[in-house]
């Protein structure tokens, strides 16, 4: 069990998560937002695996695999939505998709 301390891993995970979150908040294209979401998820995964390794238990790894599965299905749905939007010849800009405004 050699290698850097768990803190480093967590720092990288937090960094990844923040990059993803910023991407979600700032970018307008739904495609990029989906990508950023993936980055956020992977940040979380990294944290999970780091903890799993740190404590020597398998639960974190299993959880990470579950998150990947969920992420895959989420991408399917998200991309499907994007394809549906572009099929209707709408602009791919989340700020324009605001029909649900109260």
């Amino acid at each position: 069990m050699r290698g850097p301390d768990v803190v480093w891993y967590l720092c990288v995970a937090a960094f990844l998560f923040s990059i993803g979150a910023l991407g979600v908040l700032i970018r307008r294209s739904p495609l990029i937002i989906l990508l950023s979401l993936e980055i956020m998820l992977n940040g979380a995964n990294l944290a999970l695996i780091a903890f799993a390794r740190h404590y020597g238990q398998g639960a974190g790894q299993i959880f990470a695999i579950t998150v990947m599965a969920v992420a895959a299905s989420e991408v399917v749905v998200g991309l499907g939505l994007i394809v549906a939007i572009s099929r209707r010849h709408l602009e791919l800009d989340v700020d324009k998709l605001s029909t649900l405004r109260g």
Binding site: A21, V24, L25, I26, I33, V94, D95, L97, S98, T99, L100, R101, G102
Partner: protein, 628 residues
């Protein structure tokens, strides 16, 4: 016998259902014949039941029959129950027999009306309701029939629904009757509470053990119903207005169904009334008051049907007199003869109206005797019977009621005087009508508008019932001649034995005086309206009083209608608008505002949502960290 009675009851209902369901597939005249046939079947059923009942010994003439349990609640169990006994069979015969003639007459009278089928469906329903009322084997069935009679009368009085007066009259009849229905229902509730049943046997068996209060309240409640249905004081105002319906309907209401129901009720529940003698006396007093009042008002009426309507009120007053002093068979006997001559008068008046293009104002009529001699004879027989002139039927029944009054102490004697004055008035108004309409030379209006009945099917369907009723009105009273032969009293005595019996002398004295007074009334009418040898005295206030019908409508308007309207307006203004409307509106507006404000949070921008989530997560994390 039981099967015959059920057939009698169900047949008109089947006709109603058939006419309603078949719609255009049934021709208009077909509906009329179906309706008549169904009532004819009822009549046959009633006759069969009557003959079967004759075979029993008098004390065993009581046959209840329950089809199934109709209403069950806790300990209570009301069956769909009819009872066949002398009283119900007598009523069945009258209702279906006279009813059949009237429905047959309607085929001609309503010929060509736009909604004949609806009319005949209602007529059959009316007969069914009345049969249910008289055959009902417990007070609940009686009340159901009672209510249905009210409903059918509402439907038929308002039959010409494009006329606002007809609708108003129908509503008035319904509301007035509803008052009676309510008091009757209250009486039934009290009976259920005290006896746990509404079957006649149980209730009558328990009646002697009632406390004074209970007995009086029950009797008062039932009397309220009887007074409303029979148009007696003080609930009489609906009856003259009910003349807005077609003439055969008036005949049906007045002769076979509806108004006689009150008398039937008193006779049927006599054991209950006898526990409350004061209420019985009240019934007799109301009858006397009504017969005088109606007789007076009839003197000034100018509508041919309204004169007859007031004469009905007056004659029902006699029946109440009879029932109120306990001369039940006499009351029932008068009910029967009255059904004959009143149906006759209405149907004959209907022919007059029909021949004069629906004109009902007697001031425009005159001299019809030469144009329609047969109708004149029918009308004459009806009027003589109404005035109680021997040997016509009214004489026998009315005089036995009057004689029974003499056998009833000082109260009876007062009522007897009222009845005698009524007899005089009856002769006067009946023959005023007859002389004005039929005697003299034909008036210009008559000459212009008269067209005789044709000898085709509609014409004959009107002529035949009038002929049959003329014979019945002339000779129907011979069934019973007080003190000599009394089949009706004997027949009814197992159900409603009379508690007063007039002696032979009283009968004789009373009859002679009554006939003399009746003849006096006719004589006066002859002088005033026939020979016109003397003038009608002009007393302005009296005429106004009578034309305004003793201001009953105005009094009710003042006492009930206006306060009710005033109260509703006040409530609307001071309670509803500020409190109910105000609170509701404020509440709704408040919630609406809240919704508008909160909806601003929902921008539709995904990024703001994401930011909100991220920011709140950050805040929550910071809080957790800080708290630790």
């Amino acid at each position: 016998m039981i099967a015959a009675a059920w057939t009698c009851l169900i047949s008109p209902l089947v006709a109603t259902a058939l006419i309603t369901v078949s719609g255009n597939r049934l021709s208009r005249r077909g509906a009329g014949f179906l309706s008549t046939f169904s009532v004819f079947v009822s009549f046959v059923g009633a006759v069969v039941a009557f003959v079967a009942l004759l075979g029993d010994s008098p004390s065993h003439r009581y046959h209840p029959s329950t089809l199934w349990s109709w209403l069950t609640a806790g300990q209570l169990d009301f069956g769909l129950r009819i009872v066949v006994d002398p009283l119900s069979v007598m009523m069945m015969l009258i209702v279906s027999g006279v009813g059949m003639l009237i429905v047959l007459y309607s085929i001609g009278y309503m010929d060509g009306d736009d909604e004949e089928r609806r009319y005949f469906a209602y007529m059959a329903l009316f007969v069914f309701s009345m049969l249910l009322l008289v055959q009902g084997g417990n007070l609940l069935m009686l009340l159901v029939g009672w209510g249905l009679v009210g409903l059918s009368s509402y439907l038929l009085i308002g039959f010409w629904h494009e006329r606002p007066e007809a609708i108003a009259a129908a509503k008035k009849a319904f509301v007035m009757n509803a008052i009676g229905d309510a008091t009757m229902a209250l009486a039934l509730f009290l009976l259920i509470e005290k006896t746990g049943s509404l079957n006649f046997e149980q209730v009558f068996l328990a009646a002697p053990s009632f406390s004074n209060w209970t007995a009086n309240l029950v009797a008062l409640g039932l009397l309220g119903g009887a007074v409303a249905k029979s148009a007696q004081l003080p609930l009489q105002t609906w009856l003259p207005d009910a003349m807005e319906g077609p003439t055969p309907v008036s005949a049906l209401i007045h002769a076979a169904t509806m108004v006689t129901a009150g008398v039937y009720l008193i006779v049927r529940t006599a054991p209950l009334f006898e526990q409350a003698p004061k209420v019985l006396e009240l019934a007799a007093g109301l009858g006397a008051g009504t017969l005088l009042m109606a007789g007076l008002i009839a003197l000034v009426q100018t509508d041919i049907k309204k004169v007859i309507a007031y004469s009905t009120m007056s004659q029902i007053g006699y029946m109440f007199l009879g029932a109120g002093i306990g001369a039940y068979p006499d009351a029932m006997f008068h009910l029967m003869t009255h059904a004959f001559f009143k149906a006759l008068l209405f149907l004959a008046a209907g022919i007059v109206i029909h021949s004069l293009s629906a004109e009902q104002d007697i001031r425009k009529m005159g001299g019809l005797r030469k144009l329609m001699p047969l109708t004149f004879v029918a009308f004459l027989v009806g009027s003589l019977s109404l005035a109680g002139i021997p040997p016509f039927s009214g004489f026998f029944s009315k005089d036995s009621i009057l004689a029974s009054l003499l056998a009833n102490g000082w109260y009876g004697e007062i009522l007897w005087v009222a009845g005698m004055i009524g007899t005089f008035l009856t002769g006067l108004y009946a023959f005023r009508l007859l002389f004005i309409v039929f005697l003299g030379e034909p008036s210009p209006f008559v000459r212009e508008h008269f067209h005789a009945l044709k000898r085709d099917l509609p014409g004959l369907s009107m002529a035949i019932p009038v002929g049959v009723l003329t014979i019945l009105a002339a000779f129907g009273g011979w069934i019973q001649f007080a003190d000599v032969w009394t089949p009706i009293t004997d027949w009814l005595s197992p159900v409603a034995a009379p508690i007063v019996e007039a002696s032979g002398t009283q009968e004789a004295v009373s009859s002679v005086i009554a006939v003399l007074l009746g003849l006096g009334g006719i004589g006066l009418a002859w002088m005033l309206y026939g020979a016109r040898t003397s003038e009608v005295p002009r007393i302005a206030w009296a005429q106004t009083l009578l034309q305004k019908k003793f201001y009953f409508d105005e009094a009710y308007d003042f006492a009930f209608y206006r306060p009710a309207v005033w109260l509703s307006k006040a409530l609307a203004r001071w309670i509803e608008r500020p409190l109910v409307f105000g609170s509701v509106r404020e509440l709704a507006e408040g919630i609406g505002l809240l919704g508008r404000d909160t909806s601003r949070i929902q921008t539709g921008l995904v990024r703001t949502y994401a930011f909100a989530i991220a920011a709140s997560v950050a805040v929550v994390t910071l809080v957790f960290v800080a708290v630790r």
